[in-house]
Symmetry: C2
Subunit: 479 residues, 2 copies
């Protein structure tokens, strides 16, 4: 069914068919695999999506074929949701059918640490090679590519974004997409590749580095089976677009956990740290930090210096966050005399409130916050700005006039955008947590809709600015 040229192209390296298959089959269809069936059967792949199960005529209201060989059309991409021991045989059928990519969701392979699991992996690889089938997994969620219609969970957005995420962990691949949703960004391609029997980190990053639909790459790595070409891959990708990496298993206990999870050796912490520094990848320590850094690259940009201005309606928050900014590597310099004088003209209480941090309670209440931020943004000691919005303190005003939220967020948002464009200084908004989750989510999503960098705290924004500044410095040294 598939022409020799096409198959050859897959073999020589393009992963296009992994992300843009013409047709998809699910082998081992059951209602337990509803997180594949429901979203794919509602996507643009719906008419080229086939269920296979020898024991059911129908699953979740969709027809089932007894074997992939019975599917009346060609199949590019097959998802395996059958017990590990049945995988080799099903793979033979796929080979005969001309399937080009197989994603093995099933676990029970090398990650178990048992001889039996390792032997199964070898058998899978043997069959796959014989038929020229590319394998994703086993023990993983596979591919989410909203552009083509591939999904690996319920409730994933169908809108397309420009963030790619490569993850050795399936659960965290799914969670990270939701994390993006909470922060207002969407994805081009997400791959959970588990035990990495065939398609591996290096090949995926090579592909995404060249992918025009991807503007930034995030990666969660536990360890690599193949390290050949790793340095060149990371160097090349990082030159083309920001590369943000979370390396798991950097401690002894973490490395042991990684071995249990995806059956890989985590590698020495020193080697990884050196490697990521050498290629100017942004290194993060948690998935939240990764999402924060991505927001920084997408909706802001690296600051030219370390001086940050903080505006908050709470003096205590100002003090603590000045401390925290310094701890993450920024400075909170005093405003210049000119700035203090200009602020003094619009803020009546002299002294206290016109220094940095700016105690913005008066400015917030009287509506002059945008003007104050404009003044601050022209200060030469200031290279970036963070504005804290406390939904709790805000809520009381909405009781009198519900439109106040729209007005405030629009004006503040436009001010931030203008400062970024005109002054070239990243300007971030920290919407803090409150006891009004819905009100808080509404404020966040209003800023998201304006494509602004929104964080949960001044600390998160400051940590991101520091990482972005470091990235800029290293880039400049290299150029």
């Amino acid at each position: 069914m598939t022409c020799i040229l096409c198959r050859w192209m897959v073999l020589v390296g393009s992963l296009d068919v992994v992300f843009y298959p013409g047709s998809v089959a699910l082998i081992g269809a059951s209602k337990e695999a509803g997180f594949y069936i429901d979203p794919i059967s509602a996507s643009k792949l719906r008419d080229r999506f086939f269920l296979v199960n020898p024991r059911s005529g129908e699953v979740l209201g969709l027809k089932c074929y007894p074997s992939i060989l019975d599917v009346p059309d060609s199949v590019d991409y097959a998802i395996f949701a059958v017990p590990a021991k049945f995988v080799p045989e099903a793979l033979e059928d796929c080979g005969r059918k001309g399937v080009r990519v197989v994603h093995i969701y099933s676990s029970g392979f090398g990650e178990t640490g048992l001889e039996e699991g390792k032997q199964l992996e070898e058998e899978v690889l043997r069959v796959a090679k014989r038929y020229g089938i590319r394998v994703i997994g086993p023990n993983c969620m596979g591919v989410y590519c909203p552009e083509s219609g591939l999904f690996f969970s319920h409730d994933l957005p169908s809108e397309v974004g420009s963030v790619a995420f490569v993850s050795q962990s399936g659960g965290q691949a799914v969670n990270f997409v939701f994390s993006g949703v909470s922060r207002g960004f969407r994805f081009s391609k997400v791959v959970s590749y588990g035990n990495a029997l065939d398609v591996d980190f290096v090949e995926l990053v090579d592909y995404l580095a060249e992918d025009r639909k991807t503007s930034i790459i995030g990666a969660y790595v536990e360890g690599l089976r193949k390290t050949e070409g790793l340095l060149e891959t990371l160097k090349n990708a990082s030159k083309r677009k920001p590369l943000v990496i979370l390396k798991g298993g950097l401690t002894g206990d973490g490395a042991r956990a990684a071995a249990s999870h995806t059956g890989v050796l985590a590698g020495s912490a020193n080697i990884w740290e050196g490697l990521l520094k050498q290629v100017n990848a942004v290194r993060v320590e948690t998935f939240d930090e990764m999402a924060d850094v991505i927001v920084g690259f997408l909706y802001a940009f690296p600051p030219r210096g370390r001086g940050v201005s903080i505006a908050t309606t709470s003096g205590g928050s100002a003090v603590i966050h000045a401390d925290l900014c310094v701890r993450v590597g920024l400075t909170v310099p005093s405003f210049s005399e000119g700035t203090q004088r200009a602020l003094g003209k619009i803020i009546p209480i002299a002294g206290a409130s016109v220094r940095n941090p700016l105690d913005a309670w008066f400015a917030f209440q009287s509506g002059i916050l945008p003007e104050a931020l404009n003044i601050v943004s022209r200060d030469e000691n200031i290279h970036s700005l963070i504005v804290e919005v406390q939904p709790g303190g805000f809520k009381v005003y909405t009781a009198r006039d519900p439109s106040v939220v729209d007005k405030f967020t629009t004006i503040l948002g436009e001010t931030c955008k203008r400062i970024m464009e005109e002054q070239g200084k990243p300007t971030m908004i920290a919407v803090t947590q409150s006891i009004y989750p819905e009100f808080e989510a509404k404020i966040r999503s209003m800023f998201h809709n304006m494509n602004l960098p929104v964080y949960q705290s001044i600390y998160d924004a400051a940590r991101t600015l520091s990482k972005l500044h470091q990235y800029r410095l290293s880039r400049e040294v290299r150029e």
Copy 2:
């Protein structure tokens, strides 16, 4: 009106009247001060709460008196919401009226850095001393004591708890109460004391150390006007109950912010660090961390060792959190052979899933998670347990059977409680953030209602366990 003995008792030190006034007046009542008027007029103080404003007959539907001298009853406690320059005169009136405590909400005093503000403070102190009036503030929110009916914001809970919080910052005093609400704890007494002209940190901590309604004290300090007796105060309080301290202004930029905020000198970082260590106060770096530590003391207890067991439904989360646990000072030791054997009997996939971290997806799906936790809790290498609950992964089950959440949280919660009681090992639940804020909040509040220690991430729980363990070690050395 007030007998000489009562006044004498106030003067010699009891702050009882600060927290339990018989009657309250608000001087400078206007709708802008609704955050005092609305909640106090709905509290048990309602019939002994009087508004004073020479220019209005009524504010927010309540009668106003032209002067405090016109109030027909005695007044123990007066809140000042008048511009700074009118404070000394209004204080004279309070003196004549026999008022015993004045809380000055107004700002525009020493914190402005201006001579004028400092002179006003001196004048206030002079008048207060002449009449024997205790002063809270200026430039602060005052007192929240749900037991007596004192409130300083809308939406504060009227239920009484056992946490006291002392804060130099007003905004953060309010925010911290909401932070407690989100985490399932309530307060005995909260004081925002601002510029600390009279009632200061030392006196407040002395009082709360002896207060039988308070089981734990949190404090946010920027700097102290009076340091006399500080060491003895902290030592004594920390001996009686856990003392958790967030010190602001430990960096140069932070100290400058503190000077602008409450007009105090922040003091050297080294001195504070040494002091807090010496008295075995738990030192935290953010308000969130303070709330987390309080949850740990309230609903759990310090572990006997550093070995923690992690149970999560995501392998990636297991790896990253094993790394993070090690970074905060815990260890994630392998389970003993006996534990692995016992787990192997109930978890079918051998090897991978029965080590530590426990990959609990199977246990979670098949309902044997409580049994697995019981087995783990008996392992001698394990001194504490953290169980991660991901609301996102859970949501899909509720579509088929909504009662599953109740059942799951009840059984898991009871298991955690039993492990704490029978094994003496703190057992924490991490309910992660999701895109279902209401569902997530529901799960959290179900655990809160069972008085369990709930965190937003394994990391937050681990950081807390490490602080609690350190506290226990230092205590043992001292005893």
